[in-house]
């Protein structure tokens, strides 16, 4: 009799112990993930910039090349960008933006850093939208040479954000990352 009670006690204790650990350990680890950059930073898939209530996001036209780390973009060395503008306010708004593309490559394999990038293209425009309205427009990059890094920078208001980085590969693909 006492033996069966002891076994019951052990079975319930062990089951409860295992269940509690399974539920509890991940929470404890996450709570003190010191190295845990992953817990502190995020990956912003679509960087955005806002000026005067108008928000702009940029992606590449091909859905397969949504900007993510290491995504590949088959291309004849040009990339088509899709810009989406959205009025976040409840009134008509106008935002002025500047688009700039820069190009850079190491001056020497032994240099400490890249040189200052060269501007290869620049345009600016004003976007006027009604309350809550959105608008999409596209543009194509200049031809992109191999072994260089191209950055699309958007400036608006007091912000300037490098939105996308493109690096043409030997096989003709263009890697798109943020």
């Amino acid at each position: 009799m006492w033996r069966s009670r002891l076994i019951t006690l052990i079975v319930w204790a062990a089951g409860t112990f295992a269940l509690a650990l399974a539920c509890g350990i991940p929470a404890v680890s996450n709570a003190v993930n010191e190295s845990g950059a992953a817990g502190w930073t995020t990956t912003v898939l679509n960087p955005r910039i806002c000026a005067n209530g108008i928000e702009l996001t940029v992606t590449t036209a091909d859905p397969a090349t949504q900007p993510s780390q290491g995504a590949g973009h088959e291309s004849n060395q040009v990339v088509k960008f899709v810009v989406r503008a959205l009025n976040l306010t409840d009134r008509s708004a106008t935002g002025h933006f500047t688009f700039q593309m820069t190009s850079v490559a190491p001056t020497s394999p032994i240099a400490r850093v890249m040189p200052v990038p060269t501007e290869i293209w620049k345009d600016s425009g004003t976007v006027a939208l009604d309350a809550g309205q959105s608008k999409t427009f596209t543009f194509t990059s200049p031809p992109l040479a191999e072994k260089r890094i191209f950055t699309l920078i958007l400036a608006g208001g007091d912000q300037s954000i490098p939105m996308l980085t493109l690096s043409p590969q030997k096989n003709g693909a263009i890697a798109v990352s943020q």
Partner: protein, 375 residues
């Protein structure tokens, strides 16, 4: 089931919960204990160990290593991270050549062979955190990704060096969620200054805005961040240095204007007002953060990356006195002397290190040497 049977179940559940609580508390405590200390201060403490990188044919770096390692106190451990054995042997032979001209025995850096491509610039690869309260050794923090790694094989290899080094010397290494070059951060015991590169590479990429970035830096590096959003577009150690006791030394191009001897710089010296404003903004940001600021001559070039700077040195504090291994430049006697005077007036012992062979590659001594451990 009778009442007695239910009591036994209840007791079993209680025992299980109690045991789990004890295990979880212990696990939690261990994890908490693993919390690292803050980023190493540039200007406080005695240097215990450093890392340099060397690749075969890095002619620009060898003379700087020769001088610096020859001057460094003998109790400092030097790790030489090299892609292959031949590179290490070449470095050894160059160190030996220098030491034979000195009375002291040749310093023998300890080799760490990585087996992959890399550059000769150690400073940008990782940041060293002091050991936490319950840690025996500190942690090396690497960037989420090297700038230019997509097209630059050496830079891609550089991305792995924190792990290579940590494994070899028995320390922890971790990869940050932030993009940065080590040179984007410059710390004393209170604050960490953040260069524009680390701001633009992270805002809207790894965090929403600058305040979020500040919070992440504060948590990861354990110091109060000061974002230098209007600073020159270069690593912090090129335009400023922490000097200790609430003071920073900040470069000032206009102080160098009358002292610069003729020298060929890419695009010429940049004494423009817009560039001067960027340096002044660093001084203003430091002052606003409660620092006393001392200005020092500096010559930026029109390429934006080649500097004649006297802050890009290594500081060692021992026996109550600080020493700066200060970069100097051939043919610039007046500038060198002016830079030296600034540090001496702050109570520093100055050891000049000729960096003429390196500065045209966008960095000098501080960029070549990374301090792993300080007392």
């Amino acid at each position: 089931m009778n009442t007695q049977g239910r009591h036994i179940q209840l007791i079993g559940i209680c025992i299980g919960l109690l045991a789990a609580a004890i295990v979880l508390a212990m696990t939690g405590e261990r994890e908490t204990n693993a919390k690292s200390g803050p980023m190493l201060s540039e200007c406080d403490g005695r240097i215990r160990s450093i890392a340099i990188q060397y690749v075969r044919g890095a002619d620009f770096a060898a003379p700087v290593y020769r001088q610096f390692l020859g001057e460094l106190p003998a109790d400092v451990t030097v790790y030489a991270v090299c892609p292959d054995r031949e590179s290490f042997e070449e470095l050894q032979s160059r160190m030996g050549a220098e030491s034979s001209r000195k009375a002291s025995p040749p310093r023998r850096p300890r080799a760490i062979v990585t087996g992959h491509p890399m550059t000769a610039w150690s400073r940008d690869r990782w940041i060293s955190l002091r050991p936490g309260r319950h840690e025996s050794a500190g942690t090396l923090v690497a960037s989420r990704g090297e700038n230019g790694g997509q097209i630059w094989p050496q830079r891609q290899g550089d991305q792995r060096i924190a792990e290579d080094l940590a494994r070899a010397i028995g320390r922890g290494a971790t990869r940050s969620g932030l993009y940065f070059d080590g040179g984007d951060f410059l710390a004393d015991s209170q604050c960490v200054f953040v260069a524009p590169g680390a701001i633009s590479r992270n805002v809207q990429h790894t965090c929403g805005d600058e305040s979020e970035l500040s919070e992440i830096v504060r948590r990861q590096l354990g110091l109060r961040p000061i974002l230098l959003r209007d600073a020159p577009d270069h690593h912090a150690g090129m335009f400023m240095m922490a000097a200790g006791d609430g003071r920073v030394v900040v470069c000032d191009p206009k102080l160098a204007k009358g002292l610069l001897a003729p020298v060929e710089l890419p695009g010429g010296a940049d004494f423009s007002e817009s560039t001067q404003r960027r340096f002044d903004s660093v001084a203003a940001a430091a002052t606003a953060a409660g620092y006393r600021v001392t200005r020092i001559p500096c010559v930026p070039s029109c390429d934006g990356k080649t500097y004649i700077t006297f802050v890009n040195g290594i500081i060692d504090q021992r026996d109550g006195r600080r020493t700066i291994y200060m970069p100097t430049y051939q043919g610039q006697a007046r500038l060198n002397a002016a830079g030296q005077r600034v540090w001496e007036n702050l109570g520093y012992r100055v050891v000049p290190i000729d960096v003429t062979s390196t500065f045209r590659y966008f960095g000098t001594l501080h960029c070549l040497v990374n301090v792993i451990e300080k007392d």
